[in-house]
């Protein structure tokens, strides 16, 4: 031990203090950066008793971080589904105001069917009144165009979801490339022993963005590297980034199914996916596009099909003429549609009874709307102006109980008005569940983000306190050097 050793140690201390100050200033700079973890310099004792920085570590909490990735994915998928269902339910037009007499003013198919019944009721009470007949036809047209608009809204939500999936897939591919770079940087740092905490922060930031798009799990791949898998098990990154592929669909109708997203060749969305993703924006949008919106679209189609059937007209003479469409037709054709697929989009009121298209409203009273003049379908054989039996029979048909396909939600058996109400219930219930889930998951995500930030984020007061300590130890080391210098000066003065 000599004075030169003391000097060396003091000089090392100054260098170490400078390095520690750099770390403190980096930390202060990263106070508001959500992806920044607090860096701490680990000081070790050197062979001659001095101090040096062995390694700079960032604060980590792997458990919390994994939890955060899951929470972000769940929040993203719930949000996507909730937003889509909210858009669809706006076609219902449920308002907070009601008419003074208590009747409904919303534009749901259920209410419009009720309006049509009411208008037919008024027409049956005064069948000679052409205005009442026009009002009935107008109510039918309002119902048909509402079904058309709702079906169109459902398909446009599906198209938007499809576009969203395409954008997400492009983002995922870009992020995987960036991840590759960051992962390589971390592995290099681990291998060569230099500081890798900045690269780790970058890699974690990429993982957070990725988790919003697709639910992911990570696994240790050796040498500090990571492998990424989707939450269904497909490989996203293992050594190299895998391709996430998706073919967008240009236009949607009820018959069109959107394409599936494939990860490394394995489909992760759709009914046939064995490794289906359960969370992330892509999974949420796919569920909206392939399940929720399709189900509601099918309910609308069933309503349209029942309308065509309820108003269909049969041979009044008992002869062999086939049953043809009446007030409601499949795009104007007199034939009954073979299936109800996409019928809500093509449902139209027959032109033969529509005064705005030079039709005659009295055909609604007499029967034979699409019969093209064939008298076999006319119920009002005497031609009396106040013949109400056909209208009353039509109303009874509208109020009759019929069967529906319950697979898409909604009743299995009931009147058309009941089914339409159950469809409203199904939609709002789905929306309520999705919205509640979305709120809950968002709350979990916020909570986890805050916890992770608390565990790894920078506390400004703590850094400033360290700054004070460093200042003092720097002063002390500098003081030491001055003292040693004066000791050496004294020694040299004594020699000379």
């Amino acid at each position: 031990m000599s004075l030169s050793t003391t000097l060396n140690i003091a000089q090392n201390a100054l260098a170490t203090n400078a390095a520690l100050s750099t770390i403190v200033s980096r930390n202060i700079a990263g106070v508001n950066d959500a992806d920044y973890s607090t860096k701490t310099g680990q000081v070790e004792t050197t062979f001659d008793g001095g101090a040096q920085i062995a390694v700079i570590r960032g604060a980590t909490d792997d458990a919390l971080f994994g939890h955060l990735l899951g929470a972000r994915s769940d929040a993203a998928s719930a949000q996507a589904l909730s937003d889509g269902l909210t858009q669809i339910q706006q076609t219902l037009g449920l308002a907070t105001s009601t008419a003074a007499d208590g009747s409904a003013v919303d534009t749901s198919p259920a209410t419009l069917i009720g309006n049509l019944s009411g208008a037919l009721q008024s027409y049956a009470a005064s069948p000679a009144n052409a205005t009442a007949g026009q009002a009935a036809v107008a109510a039918a047209k309002a119902l048909a165009s509402n079904l058309n608009a709702s079906a169109s809204a459902v398909q446009s939500v599906r198209a938007q979801a499809d576009k969203g999936i395409a954008a997400s897939v492009a983002t995922v591919n870009a992020l995987l490339t960036q991840f590759g770079t960051a992962n390589t940087a971390v592995m290099n740092a681990t291998a060569s022993g230099i500081e890798g905490s900045t690269a780790l922060d970058q890699r974690n930031a990429i993982l957070k963005s990725l988790s919003s798009q697709l639910g992911i799990t990570t696994a240790d791949a050796g040498n500090g590297g990571l492998a990424i898998y989707t939450d269904g098990g497909a490989t996203l990154f293992q050594g190299t980034a895998r391709t996430v592929a998706f073919t967008p669909t240009a236009a949607f109708t009820a018959a069109v199914t959107g394409g599936a997203v494939t990860v490394d060749g394995v489909p992760v969305t759709g009914d046939s996916a064995t490794m289906a993703s359960k969370s992330g924006a892509i999974a949420g949008l796919a569920q909206l596009r392939d399940t929720a919106a399709v189900a509601y679209g099918d309910q609308l189609d069933q309503i349209a099909g029942s309308l065509v059937t309820a108003f269909s007209e049969s041979d009044q003479t008992g002869g062999g003429n086939p049953t043809i469409a009446g007030l409601f037709t499949d795009n104007g054709s007199p034939d009954l549609p073979a299936s109800v697929g996409n019928l809500a989009a093509t449902l139209t009121v027959s032109a033969a009874v529509d005064p705005s298209r030079r039709g005659s409203v009295t055909l609604l009273r007499d029967g034979g709307i699409n019969a093209g003049g064939n008298p076999a379908y006319t119920a009002n054989t005497t031609g009396g102006a106040s013949y109400s039996a056909h209208i009353i029979a039509t109303l009874a048909g509208l109020d009759a109980s019929r069967s529906f396909d319950p697979a898409s939600g909604g009743l299995a058996k009931g009147t058309l008005a009941d089914y339409a109400s159950s469809s409203v219930s199904w939609l709002e219930n789905s929306r309520l569940m999705a919205s509640t889930l979305s709120t809950d998951k968002a709350a979990v995500m916020t909570q986890t983000t805050t916890s992770l930030s608390a565990a790894t984020g920078v506390n400004l007061d703590e850094q400033l306190g360290k700054m004070l300590d460093l200042e003092h130890s720097y002063q002390a080391s500098a003081e030491l050097i001055t003292t040693v210098k004066s000791m050496l000066d004294a020694l040299l003065a004594a020699i000379n």
């Binding site: 907070t96 009721q121 005064s126 005497t382 102006a385 608390a454 506390n459």
Partner: protein, 351 residues
């Protein structure tokens, strides 16, 4: 937690403010409208019930409005039937008031003629453009006026001519017709002119059928009632027969026996017709009371449905007011914490 970061510390009151502000705006909307801000989210699967309550209420409203039209039609029918009965009653008095002498006269024939015209006018009553006694054929008035050129008169003249060849009702040769001959003519050939099928061909264009079709109205979701009487019904035919009989054959030129036969037949017919009119009026009266009872029931139902719907989406204003003031306090507290945290920094003390 053993550590806290500065960003986590400042995020907490910020997030609390955002949440409280969201809740506050929703509560304010609910307070001003008295109903849930978002009905779908508030009711969930009960939304269908809410919508169907409104649908049922609207349906009942539609039935009630059409009942107003039905009630007006029923009133018009009753008024016409009353007028016809009053005229018939007066005529009956005049017929029986001729006393035991029971002779026909020109005055009686004229009265019968004007009564026939009044009957035609009553049966041709039109409400809102609909001929209410026309059965289903309400586009045109059912009865053709009995004039010198109408087919009805031609039929009467023709039947008289074929039964009593060579004479007409007003001629002097009609005086030779015996009472029995006149009686058998009136009960036979003349009566057959007023059978349902002959009446429908020459006198009336109201819808034929068996039973006679009449307009019906659905006065409630479960009841349908007839709203009128068909002009081909028996009382009207009997009245037309009696009036035409006296108008044509009631002149003074007939023999006293023949005149008595005419008066006797006419009296029988008018009495029977009045009984028939009373029955018809009673039926219409039943329909009227059915309409008013249905209206009352439906009003009660509409009230009940409205109340149920309002309860489903209604909000408690007192509770909301409390909630709003609580949220405002919470926002206030968050603001204060935010500003105090700002001052609690070591930076302020390192001078």
């Amino acid at each position: 937690m053993t550590s806290i970061s500065t960003s986590a510390l400042s995020a907490a009151p910020r997030l609390s403010v955002i949440q409280a502000q969201n809740a506050l705006s929703k509560a304010q909307v609910e307070l001003s409208s008295g109903k849930l801000a978002d009905i779908g989210l508030g009711l969930g699967s009960a939304t269908g019930t809410y919508v169907s309550l409104g649908v049922q209420s609207g349906r009942l409203q539609a039935v009630k409005s059409s009942n107003a039209t039905t009630a007006a039609t029923l009133t018009a029918v009753t008024t016409s039937l009353d007028a016809m009965r009053a005229t018939a009653s007066q005529f009956l008095d005049q017929l029986t008031g001729t006393g035991s002498s029971a002779s026909t006269s020109d005055i009686l024939a004229d009265v019968a003629g004007s009564n026939l015209a009044a009957l035609t006018a009553s049966l041709n009553t039109s409400v809102g453009g609909n001929a209410i006694f026309g059965g289903l054929n309400t586009a045109e008035p059912p009865l053709t006026t009995y004039t010198a050129t109408s087919p009805a008169k031609a039929a009467v003249d023709g039947s008289f001519a074929s039964s009593f060849p060579g004479s007409t009702p007003g001629s002097a040769s009609a005086a030779s017709i015996s009472g029995d001959a006149m009686q058998s003519y009136l009960d036979g050939a003349f009566a057959s002119l007023f059978s349902e099928s002959n009446f429908e061909g020459t006198w009336s264009s109201a819808t034929p059928g068996s039973p006679l079709p009449v307009t019906t109205a659905q006065i409630s979701p479960t009841e349908t009632i007839p709203t009128s009487v068909n002009a081909n019904a028996q009382p009207f035919r009997q009245l037309a027969q009696a009036y035409a009989m006296v108008k044509e054959f009631g002149h003074a030129n007939l023999s006293s026996d023949a005149g008595q036969a005419v008066i006797a037949s006419a009296t029988k017919l008018v009495s029977a017709a009045m009984a028939g009119l009373t029955d018809a009026e009673a039926g219409i009266g039943l329909s009227q009371s059915a309409v008013s009872a249905a209206d009352d029931r439906m009003s009660a139902q509409i009230d009940y449905l409205s109340t149920r719907a309002a309860n489903l989406v209604g909000v408690d204003p007192a509770g909301l007011a409390t909630e709003i003031s609580g949220l405002q306090t919470q926002i206030q507290a968050s603001y204060e914490i935010t500003s105090q945290l700002q001052q609690l920094s070591l930076v302020n003390f390192l001078k």
